[in-house]
Symmetry: C2
Subunit: 258 residues, 2 copies
């Protein structure tokens, strides 16, 4: 039987989301806790990969359990979520566990992902590693005009980490805008590795007056990572929403895009 | 010449605000940074003392500088604040430095202090050590009715850490209420050691139905710490505002009480 789990994490002390040999990852810590609570080896398939220091307010993963195991007397989802959260470190919170169709896939079934990049101009002792501090004076009007150039289906190779093995560097961006001079919202059907941080770093160049909106358009058209600006630091980046074409039993305004 | 400095800190990794031999404190770290930037030994007198793990969104301290020193070419307050913040760890942010009358005293001139105690019923990976997690089901109506009993001038010995050397345990509380089922606001002319955490811990007893509002009144009237409930944990507690009877050059709604 296939299940989805929804969870959130503070990425500060993890070597990213995806299991890897060189450091503790979100996947590894979650799989250990799930395996303990479910009393069987649980393998999670995450909806996406986030880099070291990047956070997720909403992430999904799928996993499979033997049917008889899920009918254990204490296997009600609420109880499982509570036991998982007691077992997990403070940096990871499981929000929900629910059954899905057998062919539902956390990564491949997702139809839209949203990231936010959060900045501040003021030193904030309460958001250490949770926001990127930038100098005052960024031109948000210019950054928003440049952001509009991103909308639609384009080849975003210029914002893709080099030496990444992907079939295609085309993505369809459905939202890209700065709100309240503090948060950049970006939604797409898919994202390339390092893409949001490269986009934000290049928008900072526009905001600082070092790049025009025409320059920004040429960066996209170059299809070459070296044309874009430096990646913005990871700590301001949050995966905030993933949409699926089937019902997800959570609160929120996850409406499907046309 | 006497100056005030306004600052904020995340108390998680400090052994409280006040200098002491057994651990790193906010005062010690600040005095080191101020002494470096001012190029002379600076001694800070803080407006109040917060325990280990308690935070401050607004704290003040006063210090004295030789007049000629303050006229150094690069001693403009904005420049000093920036240099202090680069030198200080991420957990402390200096907001302002400004001259005050010679008899202004950060602690004794303060006429009102406000604390907030912040709770959540949901595991929050982004506010580790910044909020206290409590079980659902607290009766906030009952807690607010009990909180009203606190208003006015009373002997609050029941909420004062024992073996504390104070001249009087009388305080005048001008505000005490829970807002949005999440934050307790309390304002008074002065607070005793451990007072807010003892008040909140005892209000939790009321919220859990283990103590009536009459019981709560009797706790106050007992003038005995053992009558009250356990102290609530430090991480939910924030000093948020201090009012002085003279002009403080900051934003905010620090209106004087009659």
């Amino acid at each position: 039987m296939r299940y989805f789990t929804e969870f959130a994490y503070n990425g500060t002390n993890f070597h990213g989301s995806q299991r890897q040999p060189n450091g503790i990852t979100v996947q590894e810590v979650l799989e250990d806790a799930f395996s303990t609570v479910m009393r069987q080896q649980v393998a999670l398939t995450l909806a996406g990969r986030t880099d070291a220091g990047v956070h997720a307010e909403q992430m999904f993963a799928h996993f499979d359990l033997e049917e008889q195991e899920t009918r254990n007397k204490d296997n009600n989802p609420t109880g499982m979520v509570q036991r998982l959260n007691s077992l997990l470190p403070p940096a990871i919170a499981v929000r929900n566990i629910f059954p899905v169709p057998e062919d539902a896939h956390a990564r491949f079934s997702a139809i839209e992902r949203t990231y936010e990049y959060r900045i501040t101009t003021v030193k904030d002792p309460f958001r250490q590693n949770l926001v990127t501090q930038v100098a005052t004076g960024l031109d948000f009007d210019a950054m928003n005009k440049a952001a509009q150039v991103l909308l639609g289906k384009h080849d975003f190779a210029s914002f893709c980490k080099v030496h990444t093995d992907v079939k295609t560097t085309f993505c369809t961006i459905t939202r890209a805008e700065w709100k309240d001079n503090a948060v950049f919202h970006i939604s797409a059907d898919r994202f390339l590795r390092n893409m949001v941080r490269a986009v934000v770093g290049t928008l900072f160049e526009v905001g600082r007056g070092k790049m025009t909106i025409d320059d920004f358009r040429q960066v996209i058209e170059a299809h070459n990572r070296s044309a874009a600006g430096q990646s913005a630091p990871p700590q301001g980046l949050y995966l905030t929403r993933i949409c699926y074409p089937f019902e997800i039993p959570i609160t929120g305004d996850c409406t499907l895009q046309e």
